[in-house]
C-alpha cells in the first residue's frame, strides 16, 4: 500500500513536474530559441555585409596601392626630367661661357694690336714721313702701277708734278733726279 502511495506520489509528482515544465520552461525555452535564432540570422546577415565591405575594402586597398606605385613612378620621372634639364643647362652654359671667353681673348689680342699701332707704330711711321717731307717736300700718289713713280714736289713758289718710269733707268740715276729737288744752297 505504501509503495502504491509512493508510486502514486511519484506519478503525481511526475505529472506535476511535467505540467510544470511544459507550462513554464517551454515558453521560456521557445523564447530563448526564437531569440537565439534571430540572433543567429542577424549574425549571418551582418557577416555577409561585413564580408562584402571587406571585399570592397580589399579592392580599394589594391587601387590605392597601385596609385601609390604610379605616383612613385611619376616622381622618379620628374626627378629624371629635372636632372636632365640641369645637365642640359650645365652643358649649354659651359659651351657658351667658353665661346664667350675665347671671343673675349681674341678681342683682347686685337685691342692690344690696335693700341700698339695707335701709340707706337703709327706715330713712329708718321714721324718718319714728316722727316721725309721736311727734307724732300715730295708727296707720293698712292695707287700707281708698279714701276711708275707719281707724285708732287711742293717747292716754295712752285708745285712740280713728278712722273718717272723706273724700268729703263738705273737706281742711282733715279735717286740723283729726285735729289735734284733738294737744294744744296744753305
Amino acid at each position: 500500500m505504501a509503495q502504491g502511495h509512493k508510486f502514486q506520489d511519484l506519478e503525481e509528482m511526475g505529472e506535476a513536474l511535467l505540467e510544470y515544465v511544459n507550462s513554464t520552461q517551454t515558453d521560456k525555452l521557445a523564447l530563448m530559441k526564437a531569440e537565439h535564432q534571430a540572433l543567429f540570422d542577424q549574425h549571418v546577415e551582418t557577416k555577409k555585409i561585413v564580408t562584402q565591405i571587406l571585399k570592397e575594402e580589399a579592392q580599394i586597398e589594391e587601387s590605392v596601392g597601385q596609385r601609390l606605385l604610379d605616383m612613385e613612378e611619376e616622381k622618379q620621372q620628374r626627378d629624371r626630367e629635372l636632372e636632365g634639364l640641369e645637365q642640359q643647362l650645365r652643358q649649354f652654359l659651359k659651351g657658351e661661357l667658353e665661346s664667350l671667353r675665347n671671343a673675349e681673348d681674341q678681342l683682347e689680342t686685337l685691342q692690344s694690336e690696335v693700341d700698339e699701332d695707335t701709340t707706337e707704330v703709327i706715330p713712329s711711321a708718321v714721324y718718319v714721313a714728316q722727316v721725309y717731307y721736311l727734307i724732300t717736300k715730295i708727296k707720293w700718289e698712292y695707287e700707281t702701277p708698279p714701276n711708275i713713280l707719281k707724285g708732287v714736289h711742293y717747292g716754295t713758289d712752285l708745285a712740280t708734278p713728278i712722273n718717272i718710269d723706273t724700268t729703263a733707268r738705273s737706281r742711282s740715276n733715279v735717286s740723283d733726279q729726285l735729289w735734284g729737288f733738294v737744294s744744296t744752297e744753305w
Binding site: 549574425h43 557577416k47 561585413v50 564580408t51 571587406l54 575594402e57 586597398e61 590605392v64 596601392g65 596609385r67 601609390l68 605616383m71 612613385e72 616622381k75 620628374r78 626627378d79 626630367e81 629635372l82 634639364l85 640641369e86 643647362l89 652654359l93 657658351e96 664667350l100 671671343a103 673675349e104 678681342l107 686685337l110 694690336e113 690696335v114 699701332d117 695707335t118 707704330v121 703709327i122 706715330p123 713712329s124 711711321a125 714721324y127 718718319v128 714721313a129 722727316v131 721725309y132 721736311l134 727734307i135 717736300k137 715730295i138 707720293w140 698712292y142 713713280l149 737706281r171 742711282s172 733715279v174 735717286s175 729726285l178 735729289w179 733738294v182 737744294s183 744744296t184 744752297e185 744753305w186
Partner: protein, 186 residues
Amino acid sequence: MCLKKCKDDEMLFETIQTFKIDLEQKNSSLKEKQHDISEVISEIQQKEMQKDEIIQKIEKLKEEQAKRKELIVSQNKANKDRLRNLQKARLVFQDHLGMEIRTILGKTQLVKGEKLQFVFRNINPSDQESAYVVTLGIKEDGAYQIVSSDPVLECLPALESRLQETNNLPAFLANVRKEFISQARS
C-alpha cells in the same frame, strides 16, 4: 559552435582594423608623394625660368661683345690702312730716293728724334746696295749735332757748323750726299 563563430567574428574585425590602419598609412604616403611631385614640378619650372634668364643674359653679353668687336675691328682696319700707305711712301723714298731714315734708341727712353740715322744707297753705280751713313743727334732745344759718318767725311765739321747756323737739314743732307757721291764716283 557559438565560440567558433565568435572567433571568426573576431578575425573579421581584426582584418577590418588592419585594413583601416593600412589605408590611413597609404593615404598619408599618397599625400607625401603628391607633395614631393609638386615640389619637383615647381623646381623644374624654376630651373626653366632660370635657364631663360641666363640665355637672355648671355645673348646680351654676346651682343655687347659683337659691338665691341665691330669697333675694334674697324679701328684696326683704319690703322692698318694708314700704316699701309705710310709704309708704301716710306719704301718709295727708301728705294728710289735712296735714303733710309732710322731712329735710334738712346740709352734712356726713346724720345722721338733723339738720334737719327740717314742711310744713303744708290750712291755707287757699280754697287747700288752699299750704304753711306750719317748719324745725327737732336738736343732738347732742337739743335742738330753730328755724331758720325761712315765713310768718314773730312768736310763734315764744316757742314755741321753750317747746319747749326742755318738749321737747314735738307741742304745739309743734300750736301752730305754730294760728298758721298764725289767720294764714290771719282
